[in-house]
Amino acid sequence: MNRIHARTRRHRMLGLALLVALVVMSTLSLFIGSQGLEWPDFSSTQTQAHTPTHTPTNTPPSPGAFADAAQAALILDIRLPRTLGVVALGLLLGLGGALAQGLFRNPLADPYLLGSGSGAALAVTLVAAASAGATAAWQPLEPLVRAGVMGAAFVGALGGALLTLLLARGAQHTHRLLLAGLVVGVVLGALTDLVSTFVPDAWRQRQSLLLGNTQLLNNAAVAALWAMALLGLAFSLALARVLDVLTLGEEAAASLGLPVAPMRLLLVGVMAACTAVAVSQAGLILFVALVAPHLVRHLAPSGHGFLLPASAGMGAVVLLAADIGARWALAPQELPVGVVTGVGGGVYLLALLHRRQPR
């Protein structure tokens, strides 16, 4: 059986295209700043490397060398972690989306449906409200509060998902899970509103979480994001066949001997962890999780063994594009990336709606 089916060929093409896009976009992301494209001047660095033998060492460096050093620092210290972080974030979001859509057997599902988004928002608002007075009184507390906000987002996202699972009495029933997620979203959203009504300072923190932001990604954030992305990918690949069996429906899957409840719980856990880490580092970036698996399914329909990693890759490409767009669109001002993904995702869904309209 050595036939290569049209499907397999499409998978290979898409996989290759995603890899190429990832490399090209990452490179662009390194060299695009709020001033537009800034290619490093390789010729000048080359001449510099040769010059020391000819010039005395005690002459002051030229102004051009200063600019090059500053640019190198900008690329290495700011844009490199940001680019790496955005790639990992995109991987996590795309993966979370593909997991959610497989779990809920719904192509429009989103990992935030499980209450992780609203849980993170409430936790961040609470921490911000509690520390609003403290930072005003003593400025050095600021980094501590920022770390606290990140931790709160993580705990809140996981807590929201756990609460949803609790209310749905496990992960076995799709409709119950979706409804419980809706309830958790509405109730936690109302609580968040209540807190931010009483503490207006908390409202700002909450707003910045809701918008999604990639500007603050530092080395620690990059490490956390990549660790979770790799872990999530490994788990997802191991559980891809579970999602394939679940396409038959829960009862049919159970009749094939699949332990449905524990497997779904495991999948929900992986999805919630991916989402929680992403939310804690960059807030709620909308639509990437929804759109990435959609695009993959549209370009190369497949089982979950391909869909999961490809959606992760697609998420990275989409988010990189959005991040570059966020820096470029209103340069030198920078847009929150969540605004760009929101607008882009909306346009995509609209196009989908238009295309699917009955003729």
Binding site: M1, H5, A6, R7, G102, R105, N106, A238, R241, V242, L243, D244, V245, T247, L248, G249, E251, A252, A254, S255, L256, G257, L258, P259, R297, P301, S302, G303, H304, L307
Partner: protein, 271 residues
């Protein structure tokens, strides 16, 4: 001749009662199924699908009342049961983008497990199952692009691929046109030589082609008898009154069919 082999039944239930959301759906069902083809019939809401699901072990909390190959069924031996018994749900609610071959391959799950190797015998079982239901020609097509009837054949192949000797099929001929219904009925008859085939059917004439027919009504099993049993025919006419009359088939002696009653015949209307 009555189909009552002396061997113990492959699948049976004793005093099985099921309540869903507090409503009794099945009451005190005792049924013994042997190798051969059994059709399960009854008016809408009689509990046919629930009985099939209870026998398949997919109803939560049910099991001890069901015996498969002489073993009481509990929730603990799911994978073992999946190798011995395959169940096909009434409504095809499959989603995703799997191909026909990938879908049929899921039937091998009880053998390979989630992380096991795909062996030559697994591939052979999948190809044989697809050949048997005539869907091997489009094995590389997407399941979602097939018609309802074609999908039904794929799911049947998936059930066959498990290698299970007991097949519980909930309305396998739904969505199928008469030629495909007929082809499936022939397949059930052929399978009956080696399998215990139980099919829920709405078409009484098709059901009467089975070896035995079990009639359910309002959650109770009224009769389980050979297809030519006059008592069975009386029970069918009673359960489906005033719509049908059971008549001998002129074309095949010893076989019967359900004839629709004329629409202006006197009757009590739907009860």
């Amino acid at each position: 001749m009555l189909h009552r082999p002396p061997s113990p039944p492959t699948l049976s239930c004793q005093g099985l009662s099921v309540a869903l959301d507090g409503q009794p759906v099945l009451q005190d069902i005792t049924l013994a199924l042997h190798r051969g083809w059994t059709a399960l019939v009854g008016p809408n809401g009689a509990g046919k699908s629930t009985l099939l699901r209870a026998l398949a072990g997919v109803l939560p909390g049910r099991g001890p009342a069901v015996t498969l190959h002489g073993q009481a069924q509990g929730p603990q031996n799911q994978r073992e049961r999946a190798r011995a018994l395959a169940w096909l749900p009434q409504q095809d609610s499959s989603s995703g983008d799997l191909t026909v071959r990938e879908t049929v391959s899921l039937g091998r799950l009880p053998h390979t497990g989630l992380w096991g190797r795909w062996r030559a015998e697994d591939e052979a079982a999948v190809q044989a199952a697809m050949r048997r239901t005539h869907c091997e020609a489009w094995q590389d097509r997407s399941l979602q692009r097939l018609s309802g009837g074609e999908r039904q054949r794929v799911h049947l192949a998936r059930a066959l691929a498990t290698g299970a000797s007991v097949l519980l099929l909930d309305e396998p001929t739904a969505h199928l046109d008469p030629p495909h219904q007929w082809a499936l009925a022939r397949l059930f008859r052929d399978l009956a030589a080696t399998h215990t085939v139980v099919t829920v059917l709405h078409d009484l004439s098709l059901a009467l082609q089975a070896d035995t027919v079990a009639v359910l009504g309002q959650g109770r099993l009224h009769i389980h008898a050979a297809h030519h049993d006059p008592a069975l025919h009386r029970q069918l006419e009673c359960q489906f009154a005033p719509a049908v009359r059971i008549e001998p088939l002129a074309a095949s002696p010893g076989r019967f069919a359900a004839a629709p009653m004329p629409l202006d015949a006197p009757g009590a209307g739907l009860v």
